[in-house]
Symmetry: C2
Subunit: 354 residues, 2 copies
């Protein structure tokens, strides 16, 4: 039996609605029965299964029927489950899709291309409607290619192929924002201690910081950027080395909250009060570090949940036939806690551009 749609449309596949109609149940009940859920009367279930068989209705057809060509499932392929960046992106994406309408299946590739290919095939064979690919770090990554059967949005790590759509954090703007905040706190002798120089993000944040300082006619103190690793112990070591070189500083911009925490500890061990003598701002807004520091740490938040929401919205548009391309950079915000103290007014601020 083929079900014929309106006269101007081609004949269409059997839908869940057809099965439900034939079985004389609601589509919700038909769905439950076909999904093997326990809360369906056995007689009803048998009727639904018989109707599905009579109509040659398959689960894939069902998934298509449920939501006008959509299975209601999206794959999230991450290479950073151990890091802290995938999870807020996942949360934001789930919120945007609506957890009652879409299921997000997360697969962890651990930065391994073979594993990624394996997961990709598994997700595609399960007829996901689209994919969000989350990188381990904000550096660009190779594209999955143009020939996939479903739309893809890259999040956090941009694709190297400009024909792909990538949603990323603007780390240059994040660095600017950190220095902007310290300037608004009346600070002008600012040092910058950051993480691994192998990460594009550390260079981007440093560039933003330097650009904003230059606009105020200032330079970093401490002889440039202190690159090292993304750890507290580097924050401690770098601060000791910095203080040996100069004590003429009134603020530190740290490239991560973990680094900032090491900075805070050593500044105070060396008799410098935070925020009175030296103010400190971190990067990440990682609550368990920033909220538990002494004093609690002001920091730059990459707003990864918003990034996840945006990725989900873009993927939804692409699934509906409106794909995007290029790299979209989203902004950061400052979360102020107790390690910085902005002035009530900005009469004494260094000049801002424009």
């Amino acid at each position: 039996m083929r079900v014929s749609a309106g006269r101007d449309q081609p004949s269409r596949a059997v839908t869940l609605r057809d099965v439900a109609r034939l079985a004389e149940v609601s589509t919700a009940t038909a769905s439950k029965a076909l999904n093997g859920r326990p809360d369906v009367n056995p007689g009803t279930r048998a009727r639904v299964l018989a109707a599905a068989e009579r109509l040659s209705f398959s689960p894939n057809a069902m998934a298509r029927g449920l939501s006008a060509g959509r299975s209601g499932t999206v794959g999230l392929l991450t290479s950073d489950l151990e890091g802290r960046f995938s999870l807020p992106i996942l949360m934001g994406a789930e919120d945007a899709f609506g957890a009652d309408r879409t299921s997000l299946f997360l697969c962890d590739a651990r930065g391994d291309a073979i594993r990624e290919q394996h997961h990709l095939r598994a997700l595609l064979s399960r007829q996901v409607d689209g994919l969000i690919v989350v990188g381990a770090r904000p550096d660009s990554r190779r594209s999955l290619g143009p020939n996939l059967p479903v739309p893809v949005v890259y999040a956090y790590s941009p694709s190297q192929d400009a024909a792909d759509l990538s949603i990323v954090c603007d780390n240059v703007a994040g660095g600017r924002l950190a220095v902007d905040h310290l300037l608004a706190c009346g600070r002008t002798r600012i040092a910058h201690i950051t993480g691994d120089p192998g990460y594009g993000a550390s260079h981007d944040r440093a560039r933003g910081a330097r650009d904003r300082l230059a606009e105020a006619g200032l330079e970093l103190v401490g002889d440039g950027v202190w690159f090292g690793s993304w750890t507290e112990s580097w924050g401690r070591r770098a601060t000791r080395l910095l203080l040996e070189q100069t004590r003429e500083l009134d603020a530190v911009f740290a490239g991560s909250d973990q680094i900032a925490r090491g900075v805070l500890d050593v500044l105070q061990e060396e008799g410098l009060r935070v925020p009175e003598d030296v103010q400190v701002i971190g990067f990440d807004n990682w609550e368990v570090i920033a909220g538990e520091s002494r004093p609690a740490l002001s920091t730059v938040d990459m707003q990864l949940e918003a990034l996840g929401r945006r990725a989900a919205q873009s993927l939804t548009a692409a699934i509906a036939g409106n794909p995007g391309a290029g790299t979209v950079e989203l902004g950061c915000r400052v979360v102020q806690r107790d390690s910085t103290t902005p002035r009530g007014n900005d009469r004494d601020l260094p000049p801002r551009p424009g």
Copy 2:
């Protein structure tokens, strides 16, 4: 066309091998072509698709054919993606399944029963072979029920239904182990500062600690267990209160690494040297906290990756027709860093039982 197997076997479903044979390609190529992968010659793909159509071969049948009745996909339903406990369990499970043979799809229910049901339906409609359900905390959780079409293993949080199989961490043994280690360091005046009393784990760890002390003829110092929250700031506050009450202590067992870190900081601020005057052991082995403490923190490791591996092995057995039941408790181990110093010998140790 039906393919007939050996004479003693009933006729069987069409497999990928049948499709590959008819299309005159390898099963790997047939699989690629049917999965929509780009690295297949278009002519080859057309031949494979024609063969699949002629044999009425469906993707579900393919999945079954690939691995003797298995789709090679397992669902991991977690309610703790924000916590740190699901991820190592996921990693361990993936390792045990073999990432080249099984894809783990992780769905995040965020502790919400409706969301959990939605994800459960989505996973079941994608024909997963089985489910691992990871709880947010080590307290028991309600069962998904006996009527699911695939086997389920509960990990970290045990199911309330004894007919289910649960793999959990033995927190009583973990508490014993912490005290055992401090006794082996020659310590006898041990205080215990722990987290939220609403968690079964905090009571279990405290019970294990007390039991081990009692076996040595000892009690907790500081007037019993200090319950609070799982935070550094509680560790700091509790330590101050404890030191106001007594300075007659030579060790602290902290119920988490975050608490332990607060304990370390305040002990040293109060002029007590760690480990010379007071030794400290934490719980969790959370590297970014324990490894970066000063001194680096000795701690109890719940071995969550091993727990994940065991859950995967049990699920594999259940899928193969050998389900288990009841709650399996796995042991912990001590990771020694610099906040404790075991003696070279145990001549002076308090008596151990039996």
